[in-house]
């Protein structure tokens, strides 16, 4: 199981940079105001090089094609590191399925034509416009991963076969190839070790963790990278490795005392 960080609101870019230095697989950008998700992800992209940028995309907040354009731009700007976490937000399952389908088709690099209850693309409002349009630029990745969250997320996942972000271990399915989850850590080693092991045993493949209130991000990231991630990276992790004294930090030409 891989552990990632839900970026706390504030200086997300700095937090993402720290998460990357601790080897976390990804960071989730949630955003606090409409449209902020994509610009915060844009700030995160240039200060990181390896972490996956999980972008919360609130369905219904814009035309799905506009949302797809933002995803694709960010995917190219980050060198192909974007994962869409589609939030059904205020939409019911029926509406969310339609928005999601148009968004995913828009990311396909195919000419798209969509006629549904909520959207018609192209809208056929003007003469001489082609019947199908290709949304550009195409994403950098072969296919942008799409996970689901939100009130109707489980229902939409069941209809689309896409991964659903579980809120507790009991909601995980070990039969699915990708089973993400999200939770909040306590900041206490023993409790959090048991906690992530429960998620791993339930079949989670990716666990996004929120920082516990009042804890310093560096302390929590240290807890994750030194103890929690190794614990869930193999069955029966030999704890002596994490609990032994770290190697000397001496670097050539740099005094450490």
């Amino acid at each position: 199981m891989r552990i990632g960080l839900v970026l706390p609101s504030g200086d997300e870019a700095a937090a993402a940079h720290r998460a990357e230095r601790h080897g976390l697989f990804g960071v989730l950008v949630e955003g606090t105001s409409p449209g902020a998700e994509a610009v915060v992800a844009g700030l995160v992209a240039p200060v990181t090089a390896s972490v996956r940028i999980l972008l919360r995309v609130p369905l219904g907040s814009e035309h799905p094609v506009t949302l797809a354009e933002e995803v694709s731009v960010l995917d190219n700007a980050s060198g192909g590191r974007v994962v869409v976490v589609a939030d059904t937000a205020d939409l019911d399952a029926e509406a969310a399925v339609e928005d999601l389908e148009l968004l995913r088709r828009a990311l396909s690099a195919r000419p798209v034509r969509h006629v549904g209850a909520r959207w018609r693309f192209p809208a056929a409002l003007h003469p001489d416009v082609p019947e199908r349009l290709t949304v550009t630029p195409e994403p950098a990745q072969v296919a942008v991963p799409v996970w689901l969250t939100g009130e109707a997320g489980a229902s939409v996942a069941a209809r689309t076969g896409l991964p659903h972000v579980a809120q507790d271990p009991a909601s995980c399915s070990s039969a699915d190839f990708v089973q993400p989850g999200v939770t909040t850590l306590s900041g206490h080693l023993d409790a959090d070790r048991d906690f992530v092991l429960r998620w791993a045993a339930a079949g989670a493949t990716h666990l996004l963790v929120r920082l516990p209130a009042g804890q310093r991000i560096e302390d929590v990231l240290g807890l994750v990278s030194r103890y929690l991630q190794p614990e869930v990276s193999m069955p029966s992790f030999p704890r002596i490795i994490a609990e032994s004294k770290p190697p000397d930090p001496w670097r050539h030409g740099i005094a450490t005392t």
């Binding site: 870019a13 606090t32 105001s33 409409p34 449209g35 902020a36 994509a38 610009v39 915060v40 992800a41 844009g42 700030l43 995160v44 992209a45 240039p46 200060v47 907040s61 814009e62 035309h63 094609v65 506009t66 354009e69 933002e70 694709s72 731009v73 960010l74 190219n76 700007a77 060198g79 192909g80 959207w119 018609r120 693309f121 192209p122 809208a123 056929a124 409002l125 003007h126 003469p127 001489d128 416009v129 082609p130 349009l133 290709t134 949304v135 550009t136 630029p137 195409e138 950098a140």
Partner: protein, 340 residues
């Protein structure tokens, strides 16, 4: 006089192919150089559903530059406001302006391609009304924020309306100097007639096709890069209506003529030649020049070299140049043609 650079469009074209990852990486590299050389800003451009991947999402792109730089401003020239939910644009832009220390210039425009309006489900006929409503939404959300808002238009009426709001304007590089002057006057007139909102005359910025070189061979290449750049507009189907003494420029129906007219605006030559050309631009009422040097086919070393030459040999001579105070402000009021 203030100086910026543009327009980054993030394309990979038929005649200058590249991967889009490379395009976005080069944007950040270029921006760092532009910042180091002392320019004030870089400017981005938006289109949709075009084969070359022309950037369709300017705020996330601006964020990638603002996240990589510390002093440089980033402008959208132009974000096509009628094609998006203006309240969402406003909150995202304010968020980005606040997180970047007030370094975002939100330039907004109408858009003109039927295909883009159709793709977003917006009747093109509603673009002016949607732009006005959008600017209202932005103004409401941006009050007490460090966000700078600009407007792009090629008509005196549209420019005057921006002036009446106290907003700066960004003029196209294809505009001949006669039109630039007319639009600069319209900006001042709109501002004065509205009672000078904000108390400070809004800036007039203009893209200008500029290149410093003493080499005849480089000059020939540069002219061809300008030509190739404006072929794009033939593909996009851009046109500018006739206004005042300036004839129409129709890249769709009279492509060769329009391309040549745009290329004719270029100021190419020695530093002294370019300095004199830019003094003429200032005399036309322009406060802020955006050097339009991101050209189709341009070699990146040549691009970086001209950025260095402009910064070293041209900009210092023009720092203290200001446009004349309220030129020709006694001209007849600008009629509202209801176009832009």
């Amino acid at each position: 006089m203030r100086f910026g650079v543009g327009l980054w469009c993030l394309q990979g074209t038929a005649t200058s192919p590249r991967h889009h990852i490379q395009a976005y990486r080069e944007l950040r590299e270029d921006a760092l150089l532009v910042e180091e050389l002392g320019y004030e800003s870089v400017w981005l451009s938006e289109h949709h559903f075009f084969y070359d991947g022309y950037c369709p999402a300017l705020l996330p792109t601006a964020a990638t530059v603002l996240g990589a730089t510390t002093r440089l401003r980033v402008g959208t020239g132009m974000l096509l406001l009628p094609l998006q939910r203006a309240d969402r644009v406003a909150t995202a832009a304010v968020e980005l302006a606040e997180r970047s220390g007030g370094r975002l210039d939100l330039g907004t425009g109408l858009g003109y391609r039927d295909t883009e309006f159709d793709g977003k489900g917006v009747p093109r006929s509603e673009r002016v009304a949607r732009h006005r409503a959008g600017l209202d939404a932005v103004a409401t959300t941006a009050a007490r924020s460090p966000l700078e808002v600009w407007v792009g238009s090629a008509t005196p009426a549209g420019i005057a309306r921006a002036g009446a709001r106290g907003l700066g304007v960004l003029l196209s590089g294809a505009n001949p100097l006669s039109l630039v002057e007319e639009l600069a006057v319209a900006s001042r007139q709109g501002w004065v007639q509205a009672g000078r909102p904000g108390g400070r005359r809004p800036a007039v910025a203009a893209l200008r096709n500029v290149w410093v070189t003493d080499d005849p061979a480089e000059r020939r290449s540069v002219l061809d890069w300008f030509r190739a750049s404006y072929v794009l507009y033939a593909g996009l189907g851009w046109s500018v209506a006739a206004t005042g003494d300036t004839p129409a420029m129709d890249f769709r129906r009279q492509a060769d003529e329009a391309i040549q007219s745009a290329v004719d605006t270029a100021i190419i030559g020695s530093p002294d030649t370019v300095i004199q050309g830019l003094r003429d631009v200032a005399a036309a009422g322009v406060d802020y020049v955006i050097f339009r040097v991101l050209l189709e086919g341009v070699d990146r070393r040549a691009l970086h070299d001209v950025l260095r030459r402009l910064a070293a040999d041209v900009m210092p001579a023009l720092r203290d140049v200001v446009p004349p105070d309220e030129p020709a402000i006694e001209r007849a009021p600008v009629p509202d043609r209801g176009t832009a």
